[in-house]
């Protein structure tokens, strides 16, 4: 079986398990909903103010929601030590990593699709710049979060306080990507500046970290 087929089989297995348990998606939805509602009531912003602050709010909601999914992704493999079954098999480590990244990417993208209309309603949001740019920023930003997050979640699975460890490791290394996500989103929403530089930065960040994570994942998987 090729790496691609293995990644596909692992992805389908994860989606089936998530569909049955709904461990990750429920927590993600609940958390994001809280952020949308609480900040909306707290700030009660006008449409103009919303365009300035929502770039940050959106990514705070998605970042913390993504951490929930990222912790769940490896928790499933630790229950009953199932990861050992993968480690003793001849299956390549990267197939597992790619499947996990794609799974988390899907979960977060679905969450974003569900939450975007709520942001529009609660914050009276109208984008000045083209909406298709927001879609690209969302995809690039989400990939940056999940590729690093999946890798560092794997790195922290053998630590005692792994749910605390993940944000501690992930957030500092994601600062360039977070900066690019927030600034490019705000740039498109307000239409006051071009998001091109930040979008290019996101592309470079994604390429570099995807390559590095793929290179190092096997060592992380087999670390003690």
């Amino acid at each position: 079986m090729s790496s691609l087929s293995l990644a596909r089989a692992t992805l389908l297995k994860d989606l089936r398990m998530e569909w049955r348990s709904k461990d990750a998606i429920n927590s993600m939805l609940f958390f994001s909903l809280l952020v949308v509602v609480i900040f909306s009531f707290a700030f009660n912003p006008t449409a103009e103010e919303s365009r300035l602050i929502v770039g940050g709010l959106i990514w705070v909601a998605f970042l913390f929601a993504a951490v929930v999914a990222l912790n769940q992704t490896w928790a499933r493999e630790l229950r009953n030590q199932v990861l050992d079954a993968y480690r003793v098999s001849p299956a390549p480590a990267n197939a597992l990593f790619v499947a996990k990244v794609l799974g988390n990417f899907l979960f977060v993208v679905v969450l974003e699709a569900l939450m975007a209309p709520l942001f529009v309603v609660f914050y009276q949001l109208r984008s000045v710049g083209p909406v298709w740019q927001l879609v690209i920023i969302a995809l690039l930003g989400t990939w940056a979060l999940v590729v690093n997050g999946t890798f560092f979640a794997a790195l922290s699975i053998r630590t005692r306080n792994r749910e605390i460890m993940l944000p501690l490791i992930l957030f500092p290394i994601s600062i360039p990507a977070l900066l690019a996500m927030v600034d490019s989103t705000t740039a498109v929403l307000t239409g006051e500046s071009s998001p091109d530089f930040w979008m290019k930065l996101l592309v470079v960040y994604d390429v570099i970290f995807t390559a590095v994570c793929l290179l190092l994942f096997e060592s992380v998987l087999n670390a003690e």
Binding site: M1, S5, L6, A9, T10, K13, R16, M17, R20, S21, R76, R79, N80, Q81, V82, D84, A85, Y86, R87, V88, S89, P90, A91, E224
Partner: protein, 247 residues
């Protein structure tokens, strides 16, 4: 068989050496967990097509030894050679491992679990999974998720997962725990038949009496060392006493 100390890998795998035939060669194996030495310098070899039963008290190092052989834990010192290869990864497709935990997904049913693990070994055929379930006495059409299985059913499914790809070397950690006496005897008989097909089997268990009829050799461990290797008849009396409570 014990090896002489300080033998280099190249020396062990010389044509003259009996270890050339070995399924497993262990040389000066030491494993530390912090300051605790779980394995303390084990040098042994194990020939193919035999069923070895590893016995010993809790904390003797049995499970650690099995994990080191499977390549799941790296030794602090020394080396392992499996089926002629220097690392377990190179012969992973020829090794079957059943851990102390079930190594199964609770959210999936039996067939879904086996189908996924079969895919890891490049087996696309559903018939292989069905056959593996049948051999351990489970119904392949059972829709119930593994999380709702009894402990005994999990153990049997776990065994099916370990032997799914027809491995040459089978490593089993406590395969009979929480399995009723009759099922355990059936499982032991299955292992005997698998050994007769030329497979090497390494079973860590506290229920050694179950293996009395099928084992070729009992390997006694104590305090991180292999202290004796004896035929089943030789340990018959002591094993019966040891396992009496467990059975």
């Amino acid at each position: 068989m014990p090896l002489d100390g300080n033998i280099q890998p190249e020396a062990v795998i010389s044509v003259e050496s009996p270890a050339i035939q070995a399924a497993i060669v262990l040389q000066d194996l030491v494993k530390f967990f912090g300051r605790f030495a779980a394995l303390r310098g084990i040098s042994e070899y194990f020939v193919p097509a035999r069923l070895y039963v590893v016995v010993g008290d809790n904390g003797a190092g049995k499970s650690t030894l099995l994990r080191v052989i499977a390549g799941l834990t790296q030794p602090s010192q020394g080396w392992v050679r499996l089926l002629g290869a220097k690392n377990a990864g190179a012969v992973a497709h020829r090794i079957g491992y059943m851990g102390h935990a079930s190594l199964l997904y609770d959210e999936l049913n039996g067939m879904e679990n086996l189908r996924y693990f079969a895919g890891l070994y490049g087996i696309p055929d559903d018939a292989v999974c069905r056959d593996a379930m049948r051999k351990v006495g489970l119904d392949a059409d059972l829709e119930r998720r593994v999380g709702q299985y009894s402990q005994g059913m999990r153990q049997r499914l776990s065994l099916a997962r370990a032997v799914l790809h027809d491995p040459d070397l089978i490593l089993l950690d406590e395969p009979f725990s929480n399995v009723d006496a009759r099922s355990a005897r059936d499982m032991a008989a299955v292992l005997g038949r698998v050994r007769d097909q030329g497979k090497t089997i390494f079973v860590v268990t506290h229920q050694a009496a179950l293996m009395e009829q099928v084992a070729d050799e009992f390997v006694q461990m104590s305090a991180g060392k292999i202290v004796s290797r004896t035929g089943p008849k030789q340990v018959s009396a002591s094993v019966a006493v040891d396992a009496g409570g467990a059975l």
